[in-house]
Amino acid sequence: MAKVHVTTTINGEPMEFLCEPSDTMLDALRGPLALTGSKEGCASGDCGACSITVDDRLVCSCLMLAVESQDHEIRTIEGLANGEHLHPLQQKFLEMAALQCGICTSGMLVASDALLRKNPDPSEEEVRFWLAGNLCRCTGYDKIVRAVMETAAEMRAQ
């Protein structure tokens, strides 16, 4: 089958790639685009390790076809830091030990960033329900929730 040519924007950069019509966005990111920060934990949209945003909407990239990214704005974990400046969430995850093995961390950070853009002052319950699509098997979520809450508080104070 002939490959499809896709033109899109990823982390603010214009990008082009070729993919099979059946490839998921996650396949494209991890394959031709070599952005392996998004992880495949389940390929069924249940673990959130491959979370990205599409036009600021949080999406599991394993549930989206790569061709659907045509003319859209994609953000991945690789776009969260600004050059050598970490996003406040990234810094807080480091300081508060909100990661253990690290496999869910990319998805957690992308999802948390999407939450704080939408709601800069989430309650603990709102954080927990927003992140309910991101499985973590190491941390028990405690430190992740605390890191998101504390980042939100600091970002509001600035």
Binding site: R30, L35, T36, G37, S38, K39, E40, G41, C42, A43, S44, D46, C47, A49, T76, I77, E78, L80, A81, L86, Q90, F93, L94, E95, M96, A97, L99, Q100, C101, G102, I103, C104, T105, S106, L109, E124, E125, V127, R128, F129, L131, A132, G133, N134, L135, C136, R137, C138, T139, G140, Y141, D142, K143, I144, V145, R146
Partner: protein, 757 residues
């Protein structure tokens, strides 16, 4: 013991050395690596729970364009059953060679029967469909009760129990005193039977590897596992390639919890790479992970405890049947050996039975066996305490093991911290707080304790000083939960420098000395011991170098705050020489500064924890929710408190999943019916409360930094704590896990029965 006190880094919440890579998406996990010329491997798996393999025809698959190699069991080194065990650690290669690829029989649905490598993943999958396997489907059994029936289909004819072919592959017992005599002294005796379902370790990263084999046999493996040396050795055994020709490079590991202590893909990928001459990548799907790896055992346990009116336990008897899956080797030692260990019981018999059935071979899962045993014992403890009208923590204190108590599994305890964990739980704000109003939903509180052996074992480290006076530490244990952070803290502390000047890396098999698995709660215990000794050697070298420069005796030089100093004015008046200065002078003053230590580390004392759990039950929907949780543990010494708490919190979360929702569900055809994260329901963020931790620190006297293993104890008491809390809320006992909504409703709607089993 001479612990470093007034410490600057030990006990601090420093930033982990590998953290930046992990928050930016740079970290390389196994599936993130690619290689020029790489092709893809896929596994064909048995659809049957039990079937004789009469023949395999791979010819059609081999002819498919794009297919580069096909392997079956005839390509794997055979370890014949009759020639006896070939052990690698706790694994017998006779089972391992049959687990990675079915030989004469397929023993569970998902058992590999062939593997294909092709230019794309899609072609490899297509080729698998073209392989023709001639199966003779056999009767099967999944559950323990079915597998131990006299007429049960036998998985392994060679396996005998009581002189007859059997699915019971082994029995062990721990014994102390005389239980018949002991029970005679009891005023009350309670005996209950419990069942648990298999649960999966549930690491988010599926198994993956990339393997290159050069024509001369030199093999490079990138894979994620709990031990690159285990990967090297098992791959060598199963492929016939010498270990010295295999370089196993540890990728970052996306969770393991015991489930990545054996190999599944690596031998197959190696053989495919060897046959095809191309690097081969293999990545499991989540469904493959659920069908063919792990889980831990399902179980059936009977526990009987006898106590006198004044609250002393006089006798106990535990019988623990654990599912091994397709091959012998369930964690009966953990169940039988750990479950009564928090208590000083004069008359005790604890028996474990290893039962094979047509499920995937079990793998270690966090204190393997111990949570299963503790669930049964700690629930009966709760009943006995209630019958005695004693506070459950007071009852535990009254019977607590302490220094000098002889455990049934052998050791006489040194200074242990069990009592301190019970007291801390009792004095915690949580235990003192009222349960609060559930607005019509019953609330309850439960407690439970747990023990895990902990382990030492082989560990190697190399510490090198760079030319600019910084430090590179190389160890041989994959870092799952933050061990690099602990090592950086220790090395920086000893050298008296900023922790950010210490880089900690995990060496591959050909660059660092043998190091055993990341498992058994052993890594920080073992690795910090060898890192401490290596760093001490370096400090000795640095003192000698300074002494040489100052032309005084090395004994007259002390190392402090990152520099050499004269020990006293008598030694002479010299300006301190810093690590940087000595590193710069190294070429002229004796050469490179580095030291390595290899040890079989000893002295890993067991670990104890006591947990308090509050639940709230929606009696209309049958949903039990944990609303507050406190985990207390003797952690020895928290080298990095953030990651110690993380271990406690993570273990608790897994236990809550095991208690309330997680289980393997089988179809009538003997296949796993919920092989994905949608239907195999692990706790998500909104299912859990914050998890409070109380770290009791009683330093391990046999470790230079006081370290005790911490990773496994946190899972051990959880299921019992939750079950006891649900009893406290509802007044009804549960004797089966998980306590999922349908099961809760079943118990609630059966008012005449005391409990559901």
């Amino acid at each position: 013991m001479n612990l470093v006190t007034n410490n600057k880094w030990i006990g601090q919440r420093t930033i982990r050395p590998d953290g930046m890579d992990k928050v930016t998406g740079r970290a390389q996990f196994a599936a993130d690596t690619t290689m020029p010329g790489q092709i893809w491997g896929k596994v064909l798996r048995s659809p049957h729970p039990h079937a004789r393999i009469r023949g395999i025809d791979t010819s059609k698959a081999e002819k498919l364009p794009g297919v580069k190699a096909v392997v079956t069991s005839k390509d794997i080194v055979d370890f014949p059953i009759e020639k006896g065990a070939v052990m690698l650690g706790i694994q017998d290669m006779r089972w391992m060679c049959r687990n990675v690829m079915a030989r004469d029989k397929a023993l569970f649905p998902g058992h590999p029967v062939a593997a294909v490598a092709a230019t794309t993943e899609a072609i490899a999958a297509e080729a698998c469909k073209l392989i023709e396997v001639d199966y003779e489907v056999l009767p099967w059994s999944i559950e323990i009760d079915d597998a131990i029936k006299p007429d049960a289909p036998i998985l392994h004819e060679f396996n005998k129990f009581d002189g007859k072919p059997s699915n019971i592959a082994g029995r062990l017992e721990h014994k102390k005193g005389d239980i018949a005599e002991g029970f005679k002294k009891a005023d009350i005796v309670i005996e209950r039977t419990f069942t648990t379902r298999p649960v999966h370790q549930g690491y988010i990263e599926p198994h993956a590897c990339l393997i290159s084999v050069a024509p001369d046999g030199k093999t490079t493996i990138w894979s994620s596992s709990q031990g690159q040396f285990m990967v090297r050795a098992m791959t060598a055994y199963l492929t016939g390639i010498p270990q010295s020709d295999i370089r196993a490079i540890p990728a970052e590991i996306g969770g393991g919890f015991g489930g990545k202590t054996i190999v599944y893909l690596e031998p197959l990928a190696t053989l495919l790479a060897k046959k095809s001459g191309r690097p081969v990548k293999m990545v499991m799907t989540r469904e493959e992970v659920m069908r063919a790896t792990g889980p831990t055992s399902g179980s059936k346990s009977t526990v009987k405890i006898g106590a006198t009116k004044d609250g002393k336990i006089v006798a106990a008897h535990g019988t623990f049947y654990l599912q091994a899956g397709a091959f012998p080797g369930s964690p009966i030692r953990g169940a039988a050996g750990c479950s009564f260990t928090p208590y000083d019981i004069p008359n005790l018999l604890s028996e474990g039975f290893d039962v094979c059935s047509n499920r995937s071979k079990v793998a270690a899962y966090r204190a393997p066996g111990a949570p299963i045993g503790a669930y049964a014992v700690e629930c009966v403890m709760d009943e006995v305490a209630e019958r005695l009208k004693m506070d459950p923590l007071d009852f535990r204190l009254k019977n607590a093991a302490k220094e000098g108590t002889k455990a049934a599994h052998g050791p006489v305890f040194p200074r242990i911290g069990y009592i301190e964990t019970v007291e801390a739980a009792k004095n915690s704000p949580h235990y003192a707080a009222p349960l609060g109003d559930g607005h019509g939903r019953p609330r309850g509180r439960g407690v439970a304790s747990g023990f895990w052996f902990n382990a030492g074992g082989e560990s190697s480290a190399q510490v090198n000083i760079t030319e600019d006076g910084n430090v590179v530490v190389t160890t041989g244990h994959p870092d799952i939960g933050g061990s690099r952070a602990g090592i950086a803290n220790i090395c920086a502390e000893l050298l008296g420098i900023d922790y950010r000047r210490v880089s900690v890396i995990i060496g591959d098999t050909q660059t660092v000395g043998f190091s055993n698995l990341t498992g058994g709660s052993r890594v920080l215990f073992a690795s910090s011991m060898v890192v401490t000794q290596s760093t001490e050697k370096i400090i000795q070298t640095l003192r000698e170098r300074a002494a040489k420069i100052w032309e005084i005796d090395p004994e007259a030089v002390k190392w402090e705050n990152g520099a050499a100093h004269p020990v006293s004015p008598n030694a002479g008046q010299f300006e301190p020489l810093t690590l940087q200065e000595l590193a710069e002078k190294a070429p002229a003053m004796g050469g490179p500064i580095g030291a390595g230590v290899q040890l079989n580390t000893q002295g890993a004392d067991g670990g104890f924890g006591t947990h308090v759990c509050d639940v709230e039950v929606d009696v209309d929907l049958g949903i039990a929710r944990v609303i507050r949780y406190t985990a207390v543990q003797d952690v020895g010494r928290a080298i990095h408190p953030g990651y110690v708490e993380g271990q406690l919190q993570g273990g608790v979360a897994q236990g809550i999943g095991w208690a309330l929702n997680e289980e393997y569900i089988y179809t009538r055809e003997g296949k796993v019916d919920n092989p994905g994260f949608l239907d195999y329901r692990m706790p998500v963020c909104s299912d859990l409360p914050m998890i409070d931790c109380i770290m009791v620190e009683i330093p391990n006297p046999k470790h230079p930094q006081g370290v005790k293993g911490v990773g496994e104890v946190p899972l051990v008491p959880v299921m019992a704590a939750v079950a006891n809390a649900i009893y406290n809320a509802l007044g009804k006992r549960f004797y089966a896990l998980p306590m999922s909504p349908p099961k809760v409703l079943e118990v609630l709607e059966a008012p005449t029965r005391e409990a559901a089993e």
